[in-house]
Symmetry: C2
Subunit: 346 residues, 2 copies
């Protein structure tokens, strides 16, 4: 029922005639801002409109004709991102976030500096009404259909209601950005049974099971998943707290790199193995590219920009809020808390 | 100062003239009890004395001449291990644990059914004085020098003092069983700085840093380690709670299996790749064997028995307690708590 879909607050601020724009912070990339700009050019050829923030001279050389804002100051490597965001309104990530806040862009892509991006978003774009906490979601480096893990580090501690909301937020991401029709959402735990897990996980399981008792259009809750399930292809979205999610993400990267480098070592261990390795090289490269999605190259940035444009076009914010509202899982507005407390005083 | 080392309680119960015995529960193995018995025979040829518990006829055929106790009942697959242990004193794992409790054996190897082994140990052998909680420790499936991760699932919730003790317990395991002189012990977290991590991890970090300010003989505390550090070879022992540890362990197994099977698929993707794969096969098999240590075969069980014998011989229990006492990290005896509470009443 697209006619009934509520426009998200970001969407409503935009001119419906112009294509939505993606604000791209080009600073912080391992290969430099020009690589990001080159990615924006690729995305532009596929119909995404990007506004680039970074050192104008470098960007212009790499992406002639793209809209850009000269913002050479990078705070991507800051050890205290919240303070850096407050102290540096001219930093590229802060300017990019402001472009979204003011409706000049509808989504944000950042090439590096997750902490600064999170802080700039929180301070400038702010959370949508009814959302407790932001989460960091990431398509995992596994082959095949993407598995989105969240939270991978925004909240080292999470409460029940946060994790419940993350399930809806992750599902909306999988629907809008990855085109999964009715995402299968799981909860990361140390056992598959509903009663297994930390007290927090057991509580979240019970609440999600209860809220999805009437089948939701938004997603299917498939219960607990153990660590190996993250690569098993049985879930599209896996929910966990930011501590466990961060450990899991970095562990996956470490193990898959370690395994591939061991295969490389094996392929250097004898003349016979060396010949075998040379013959296998092409097939293995395809696998490696599929796994890391060329994340830090222009192709990766182009994909990120196209995904961000798609998320805004499909109204990820509005979809999240609508699903949370339908399930009664939105945070109550502070207003009603104030009213209640006033009443109490009388 | 070996003369000053306090004999552990298990050690003191044994006849010093006879070689220490390892109680081996042969039930619960994927390949059946005979595979475990075959492993015991290999270990026996290398000097380890094993007492086998399981179905006598199968065991005798596989390990002629080994001591054995007919205990066909297995509770390895029980969904409620604690209840099964209480209800089945004749089960093989319960009889094996009793053999240790009564001094007929000095250590325990169990072929399958971690939950039942943990419960049988807790009820029969019990914890050493001053230890809060048991932990499950496991050498990780990574190539090279073993990295011991604990806890991988005994405690889904852990308090500060539990994790502090796990550092000492893991270090004693690495010293006695793996022969690491002064183990490097790390704390699993979502960042390397001391201030990063959940509030629990930050507290544990501070206490371990304080207790190891005067360099310990027992181990070196090297601080926080992120997920990828588990395979980086920078630590010998990594401490975490049982929830995170279990997720990490299963994730590692899943990712390394997934990566190896993707390499296999790549090696079937074209005639050229197939030839390459055939030439590489031997070199890759060596890597795979190193990673999974042939855990579920007779070779794996032989190694487990030899390690258990070594742990008892090197007095792992006494070493753990001694190190904890030196650092002031033993749990206070319940007696003194009672005295204090009596005083309070007066």
């Amino acid at each position: 029922m697209p006619g009934e879909r509520r426009a998200g607050p970001l969407r409503s601020a935009q001119d419906e005639a112009a294509p939505a724009a993606v604000a791209v912070d080009c600073n912080g990339a391992d290969l430099g801002p020009a690589e990001v700009a080159a990615g924006a050019l690729i995305a532009a050829r596929q119909g995404a409109r990007a506004i680039l923030f970074g050192p104008a001279r470098e960007l212009r050389a790499a992406a002639e004709g793209c809209e850009l804002v000269d913002a050479p100051l990078s705070i991507a490597k800051s050890s205290d991102p919240a303070r850096a965001v407050r102290a540096s309104p001219e930093a590229s990530i802060v300017q990019a976030a402001r472009a979204v806040a003011e409706g000049r862009a509808q989504s944000l892509v950042c090439a590096g500096g997750t902490g600064a991006a999170l802080a700039a978003g929180l301070f400038n774009i702010k959370r949508t009404r009814g959302i407790y906490r932001p989460a960091l979601a990431l398509p995992l480096p596994v082959p095949g259909r993407p598995v989105t893990l969240l939270d991978v580090g925004a909240n080292v501690e999470a409460r029940r209601e946060h994790l419940v909301q993350f399930a809806f937020m992750g599902a909306a991401l999988a629907r809008t950005v990855f085109g999964v029709d009715r995402p299968r959402v799981a909860l990361l735990s140390n056992g598959e049974e509903a009663a297994r897990g930390s007290p927090l996980v057991v509580e979240v399981h019970a609440e999600l099971a209860q809220r999805t008792r009437t089948p939701l259009e938004a997603f299917e809750f498939i219960g607990n998943l153990e660590g190996d399930g993250l690569v098993g292809g049985v879930a599209d979205v896996v929910v966990t707290d930011g501590f466990t999610g961060n450990v899991a993400l970095k562990l996956m990267e470490g193990v898959s790199q370690r395994t591939l480098s061991a295969v490389r070592d094996a392929a250097m261990s004898s003349p016979r193995a060396r010949l075998g390795g040379a013959l296998l090289r092409g097939a293995l490269r395809a696998f490696r590219d599929e796994v890391d999605h060329g994340r830090f190259t222009r192709a990766g940035f182009a994909q990120a920009i196209l995904r961000a444009a798609r998320g805004a076009r499909e109204d990820i914010v509005g979809q999240t809020q609508q699903a949370l509202q339908g399930a009664g899982a939105l945070r109550e507005a502070p207003m009603s808390v104030q009213v209640a407390s006033l009443r109490h005083r009388r």
